[in-house]
């Protein structure tokens, strides 16, 4: 019994015998044969998923992982046919592949690209043929199926031409809100964050005593009296040093802004 046997001569009984032998011996050579024998099943199932934009070969690879898992776990005594047992595992592996690839984020982009390709093909073919091309001609030009082409023309457009006035889903009672109302304004705190960076540098330029006063007063919320006590100087002195430090910071910040 070898795989060289023409596929038309190969029967279900041969497959069953091969499985029985593999289950008994766990011989990796037999496992390889079983994998090869069921490549058609993997290919058949993978081909169902090709129009989701991933190459068939990649899907066959992923599906084969499912097949190998199924071969290892298959128990012929349960009375289930192997293909029935393996299909959910193979399909599960293919679907997980799409999920893990964040495929859904890529679809709009792919449709947009196809849409642009279709638009260009329409233009090129129109001038070449002297008449608007048919969908079949456009599909052939961009190397997509007619179904994909129609889909791209119909949907690819929708993705980049959403009106700001288009109504968004809202709660049942309230009036629908337009998309424009959801569009954010410039975030001022981002600007503030940038300024914090400058301020940080400015503080580092102060002398150690001034820096201590600024940190205690403005970052630790201490009073001038508390700071005076901590640094063992008069409150008057703290006040003077603080003013000088603030003046310096102000100069530094202005310089940073104008540069």
């Amino acid at each position: 019994m070898t795989l060289k046997k023409a596929s038309s001569d190969w029967t279900q009984a041969d497959t069953d015998t091969l499985f029985a032998r593999y289950i008994r011996t766990r011989d990796p050579v037999l496992r390889d044969r079983l994998v090869v024998l069921h490549q058609n099943l993997v290919r058949y199932l993978a081909s169902k998923f090709v129009n989701r934009g991933e190459p068939l070969e990649d899907l066959v690879q992923v599906g084969s992982i499912g097949l190998i898992n199924a071969i290892d776990r298959f128990d012929a005594d349960r009375g289930t046919k192997f293909s029935t047992y393996a299909t959910p595992t193979i399909v599960g592996e293919i679907r997980r592949y799409f999920r893990d690839k964040a495929w859904s984020l890529k679809v709009p982009r792919r449709l947009q690209e196809l849409n642009q390709a279709a638009a260009k093909a329409q233009e090129d073919l129109s001038s070449k043929l002297g008449r608007p091309p048919t969908i079949q001609e456009v599909a052939a030009r961009i190397g997509a199926t007619e179904e994909e082409t129609l889909e791209a023309i119909e949907l690819g457009n929708a993705y980049d031409t959403v009106s700001l006035d288009s109504k968004m889903m809202s709660d049942s009672d309230s009036a629908p809100l337009s998309l424009a109302e959801f569009v954010g304004a410039e975030d001022e705190s981002l600007q503030a964050l940038e300024e914090y960076g400058d301020l940080d540098k400015a503080i580092e330029c102060l002398d150690p005593r001034e820096r201590a006063i600024i940190v205690h007063r403005f970052f630790k919320d201490m009073s001038q009296a508390e700071v005076a006590k901590q640094l063992n100087i008069s409150q008057m002195h703290v006040s003077r040093l603080q003013n000088r430090a603030l003046q310096q910071l102000k100069r530094f910040m202005n310089a940073a802004e104008s540069s």
Partner: protein, 142 residues
């Protein structure tokens, strides 16, 4: 969800391979009305494509039609694919791929049904002498 009424879309196509794509395109539009992810929409589309393809295969050269009735409400999308292919129609001659599958002990018809069961939440197949109906249900996410 604001959508509480149930919407119905009906489509009848000739039971021929070149029209399966039309059904798939329509289902894309219909399934997109549901709060499904892209993957889920594609799953429904694939399941409907399978149901139609099997009708086409069973029909062979027999002239028949496929009726696709989609019902959408807040709970689920139900798509019923019915054909009027008589039980005694001469099916298409299986191609090489199908023969290779059969050799590996794979029954393609059964595989299609299995695939549909994986892709949607409920599959109910009813066959009579005058045709077959496949009822596919995909529930909206909680």
């Amino acid at each position: 969800m604001t959508q509480t009424l149930c919407d119905t879309v009906e489509l009848t196509i000739p039971c021929r391979p070149e029209y399966v794509g039309v059904a798939r395109l329509a289902v894309l539009g219909i399934a997109s009305r549901m709060p499904f992810s892209y993957d889920e929409v594609e799953d429904v589309r694939l399941a409907v494509g399978e149901a139609c393809t099997h009708a086409v295969e069973r029909a062979g050269s027999t002239v028949a039609q496929i009726k696709i009735v989609s019902t959408i409400d807040s709970v689920a999308l139900v798509i019923e694919v019915s054909d009027d292919v008589p039980a005694d129609a001469e099916p298409v001659i299986p191609d090489e791929d199908a023969q290779a599958l059969a050799a590996a002990g794979v029954d393609q018809q059964g595989l299609g049904a299995l695939l549909m069961e994986i892709l949607v939440d409920e599959v109910k197949i009813t066959s009579t002498a005058s045709g077959t109906s496949v009822r596919l249900t995909k529930f909206a996410p909680e």
